[in-house]
């Protein structure tokens, strides 16, 4: 008989990179959303399309209401981004292997140039965090000067989503390798976590018990993984707090 402590989680189940989000201190200020857009060359879509569910945000902040006036409360702001599932529902349905699991980084990749635009992945994502390039959204000159050269600029007809700033991961790994060392925890972080004025987002190695993200997760205790019951093995943990 196998005792619980003997069960070792495979790398796929623990994941490699992960994030914890403290909803109790998230103020909903949208700094992460803006930072993400600036870092990842995300297009803006204009008033009409944005209002029709075509905005390209890779991270959005959800809030609901509880109760009725005067006892009304705003539910804790919930930043919703790609959960980088260990067992993602988006991956198996893509007919072209455009969204695949990275064995090296344990992330859900979106290979833009392979995408043919069936949108099955977005349909099948229970978190609804994928954004599709519905049109050829224009960045009039010289706005394109701020494009991040490390991130592919997407055009019409391809799907995109949060990458956990994989370009930063690669950059840090490359730097560490050139210096002959391992990547140090806290050496880099995602754009959203870096911007967050409340430090509500912490990013790092979840397979390293000494990393800040693991420590924060332990300190908080009862973290929630969204829609865990679907077996998606998400790598983002939420703390409701309060």
């Amino acid at each position: 008989m196998i005792r619980p402590e003997e069960i070792k989680m495979s790398a796929e189940e623990t994941g490699k990179w992960g994030m914890v989000i403290d909803q109790d201190i998230c103020t909903g200020c949208q700094a992460c959303v803006a930072a993400c857009a600036m870092e990842n060359n995300i297009s803006f879509v204009g008033e009409v399309d944005a209002g029709y569910g075509r905005s390209m945000h890779w991270i959005r902040i959800e809030r609901f209401w509880e109760g009725a006036y005067p006892e009304v409360k705003m539910t804790p702001n919930q930043p919703m981004l790609c959960q980088q599932c260990g067992h993602a529902t988006c991956e198996p349905v893509c007919p072209a292997f455009a969204t695949v699991h990275s064995q090296a980084e344990q992330l859900n990749l979106q290979v833009y140039n392979r995408c043919v635009g069936t949108r099955y992945c977005a349909n099948n994502c229970p978190y609804q965090v994928r954004a599709f390039n519905w049109r050829d959204y224009q960045r009039p000159e010289p706005l394109s000067n701020q494009l991040n050269p490390d991130v592919t600029v997407r055009r019409m007809g391809v799907m995109e989503k949060c990458t956990f700033c994989i370009q930063r991961i690669h950059k840090a790994q490359d730097k560490a390798k050139s210096e002959g060392r391992e990547v140090v925890d806290g050496e880099f972080t995602t754009a959203c976590a870096q911007a967050c004025p409340a430090n509500a987002i912490v990013f790092g190695r979840v397979d390293d018990p000494e990393s800040l993200v693991s420590q924060v997760a332990r300190a908080h205790g009862h973290g929630v993984k969204h829609l865990e019951e679907l077996g998606t093995l998400p790598n983002v943990t939420y703390f409701k707090g309060g």
Binding site: I25, T27, R63, V72, N77, N145
Partner: protein, 722 residues
């Protein structure tokens, strides 16, 4: 321009232009179609393809957060917070992130212009020379932004030496923050000028009376960090936060308890809580709280007496209780009383100078006393002078008063009373359109300078700016223009500004800090010091520079618990608030427009928040356009049925409604400042929340773009409930 700082040898790179050819790949333009220009002179510290990072200061608002800007081959790619800067410790808000969309905005002013026609910089400088020389000193006026920066110092020096009018600073944010009220309250109670600082992070219980400190108030990044500290569960008990306001702001949304008190009753609620707290703590009842009758307050404000008592109990029994005044509570006829009452409440629990208490904000390094921006009443006087023709020349920099000031003050009309208006606007904004000359300043990321951190940091901070990219257009630093003009004008002007360029002026200003022992760094010579200053993004002291308010007789100060007075006939209290994402000057940045408002998730537009009950009574649905009529004006705006607003109150965000401010802002939404009349509180700040307005249906519809699902969040359109 100094030769020592030759970063302007950068080539302007054509960059990763979005070529249309590569559409078939679904990804960016193939490199083949990008014009690749190598550096003519490659800076020694850079390699192609490798990023260079520069420290500078964010100038999207007056807070003065430090930035690190990533640049690649002469293009600015990304802004991040400067982790060294004690104010923001590496963090930014959304507006700081979107700075680049201002820098690379397609609608900037590209060349100096006279009446819309491009002119050379020589002609432009000559115009400034003529303006300075051909007028009497008291006929020349400067109007500048809220920021206390090097340019303000330069103009102040110029004014002091030549007798022209001292520069006046103003901004919509300082108007909505009621800075004058805060500092006047401090002066009245503590006998000392200064901007109070509230240490939210160290507190256990925070009562905020309208302060939107998580949005745009004073120093949002710093206060947000404070809020995180309040809630941080690891180190101490999770702090409690209670917000008193008639309309739930994004700040109020984070409160544990939200108290929708009737507008105008803030002062009496504070006093009533004070009285109950004093009773619980025992001892003699302070003078300020004697007169107020909590039961009466409960009836008037709409809070139950038991609730008031519970709140008072919470406040009295906590080890770290803190009360903060702000927002609409100060923008009423008795705003000053509210501020004083809140400070008195803090005095009651004796939190001055303690962690989680009230301080005076640290004075910035090269500053001897707090200099606040002009209140709207002072602006009224300024406008009066303009209209009367007392100013022959008006220089405007860093502010857009035609948009930011309530139209009823008549700034736009008064401009015609000024002989010559010279604007230094970066964007062709409403004020620049009215100006005779537009001499575009660089964007802040192309500029030198420093900026004082007025509040938010325990340490005195002087945030430093340096150009992170070479100027994109034919713009010129305003300081350089003024220095050049002063030199050309000769005489006392040349003596007032004896510099060759802006950098030399900067050096002269920061030189006194060079050898300070308590500095974050020091240097023996100015070049080394300036190198550090640029590298670290400013200079700051290592010690806590906050002064502790002393208020021996504060509790004997008598305060009136009368209700605020409201102007106008309508049945609704009108609460304008600053859009948390756009603020006063964000509307020209497309990604800020596309950020959902934290409370309503509306993008790209203005809305009016109405309680669903009220809307039902008025027969209004979401997206119905209503006409809002105040004494001062009227405007049409679509309805957002907002569940967290008093039924007798309506609220509108400030930030949209531009007529000239780039293609992303023009003719988008409306400006609630158009509804505001000339009413002030006792400190001379605008009583922006002191109006009552009427609502009329128009029968029109205008769908608002929301991030949220109206079905999923409000259940609208899902069908009858089971």
């Amino acid at each position: 321009m100094s030769n020592k700082f030759s970063r302007r040898d950068f080539l302007k790179l054509a960059g990763v232009g979005a070529a249309t050819t590569a559409i078939l790949t679904g990804c960016g333009p193939a490199s083949r179609y990008v014009k690749r220009e190598p550096y003519m002179l490659m800076p020694e510290y850079t390699y192609n393809g490798q990023s260079t990072y520069y420290a500078t200061t964010c100038r999207e608002c007056a807070a003065g957060c430090g930035l690190i800007v990533r640049t690649s081959q002469g293009r600015a790619i990304k802004t991040e917070g400067n982790a060294n800067n004690p104010l923001n410790l590496g963090k930014t808000c959304a507006r700081g992130q979107a700075t680049l969309q201002g820098l690379y905005n397609p609608d900037r002013v590209t060349d100096p212009a006279k009446a819309g026609a491009s002119i050379t910089w020589d002609a432009a400088t000559q115009a400034v020379v003529d303006a300075l020389k051909n007028h009497k000193p008291d006929e020349i006026a400067f109007l500048m932004g809220t920021t206390s920066d090097h340019l303000f110092d330069l103009v102040t020096d110029l004014a002091a030496a030549t007798g022209i009018n001292a520069p006046v600073r103003f901004g919509a944010l300082s108007m909505f923050e009621s800075r004058a009220t805060l500092s006047t309250a401090a002066e009245n109670l503590f006998g000392q000028r200064g901007l109070p600082f509230f240490d939210v992070g160290g507190a256990q219980v925070v009562f905020s009376f309208g302060a939107n400190f998580l949005e745009t108030w004073l120093s949002p990044v710093s206060y947000t960090r404070g809020f995180a500290g309040l809630r941080e569960a690891q180190t101490k008990m999770r702090g409690t936060f209670v917000q008193f306001e008639s309309r739930m702001s994004a700040t109020g949304g984070k409160a544990d308890e939200w108290m929708p008190i009737r507008p105008g009753t803030e002062a009496m609620v504070v006093l009533a809580i004070g009285k109950l707290v004093a009773e619980k703590r025992g001892g003699t009842m302070p003078h300020a709280f004697i007169e107020v009758d909590p039961a009466n307050v409960a009836a008037k404000s709409g809070i139950k007496l038991e609730t008031l008592e519970q709140l008072a109990e919470k406040f009295a029994s906590s080890a770290g209780a803190l009360a903060i005044p702000g927002g609409a509570a100060l923008g009423q006829s008795n705003g000053l009383t509210v501020a004083e009452a809140v400070l008195a409440l803090n005095a009651l629990v004796d939190n001055f100078g303690k962690p989680g208490g009230v301080y005076f904000s640290a004075l910035a390094p090269n500053q001897t006393e707090y200099q606040r921006a002009a209140s709207v009443q002072e602006m009224q006087g300024f406008i009066q002078k303009m209209a009367e023709g007392k100013f022959k020349v008006l220089f405007i920099h860093g502010v857009n008063p035609v948009f930011e000031l309530p139209a009823s003050l008549g700034f736009k009309e008064a401009l015609s009373g000024v002989g010559q208006v010279i604007s230094f606007a970066t964007f062709p904004d409403e004020t620049a359109q009215e100006a005779d000359y537009v001499l575009p300043d660089h964007h802040s990321l192309e500029s030198w300078g420093y900026q004082r951190v007025v509040t938010g940091s325990a340490q005195p901070v002087l945030s430093g700016s340096q150009p992170v990219v070479s100027p994109f257009y034919n713009t010129r630093a305003t300081a350089d223009v003024l220095i050049a003009a002063a030199q050309l004008a000769g005489g006392k002007f040349a003596q007032a500004l004896p510099f060759t360029d802006e950098v030399e002026f900067l050096q002269s200003k920061v030189a006194p800090l060079m050898n300070s022992a308590d500095g974050f760094f020091s240097a023996a010579d100015i070049n080394t010091f300036m190198a550090y200053f640029q590298q670290y993004g400013g200079w700051w002291k290592t010690l806590d520079g906050r002064a502790v308010p002393v208020a021996a007789n504060l509790l004997n100060h008598s305060l009136s618990g009368a209700e605020a007075e409201f102007a106008g006939e309508g049945e609704f209290f009108f609460v304008p608030f600053v859009s948390p994402t756009l603020a006063e000057a964000g509307a020209n940045k497309p990604w800020l427009q596309e950020l959902p408002d934290p409370t309503t998730t509306v993008m790209w537009n203005t809305w009016v928040e109405i309680n669903p009950e009220t809307a039902h009574e008025l027969g209004l649905e979401d997206d119905d356009v209503v006409k809002i009529i105040s004494e001062a004006g009227e405007l049409e705006v679509p309805v957002y049925r907002y569940p967290a607003i008093r039924p007798d109150t309506i609220a509108m965000p400030f930030g949209q409604g531009h007529t000239a401010y780039s293609r992303y802002a023009d003719n988008r939404g409306v400006n609630p400042a158009d509804l505001l009349g000339q009413y002030f509180n006792e400190a001379g700040d605008l009583a922006f929340a002191g109006m009552k307005v009427k609502i009329e249906k128009t029968g029109k519809k205008q769908p608002l773009s929301r991030m949220e699902s109206i079905m999923g969040v409000y259940g609208v359109g899902l069908g009858e409930e089971h």
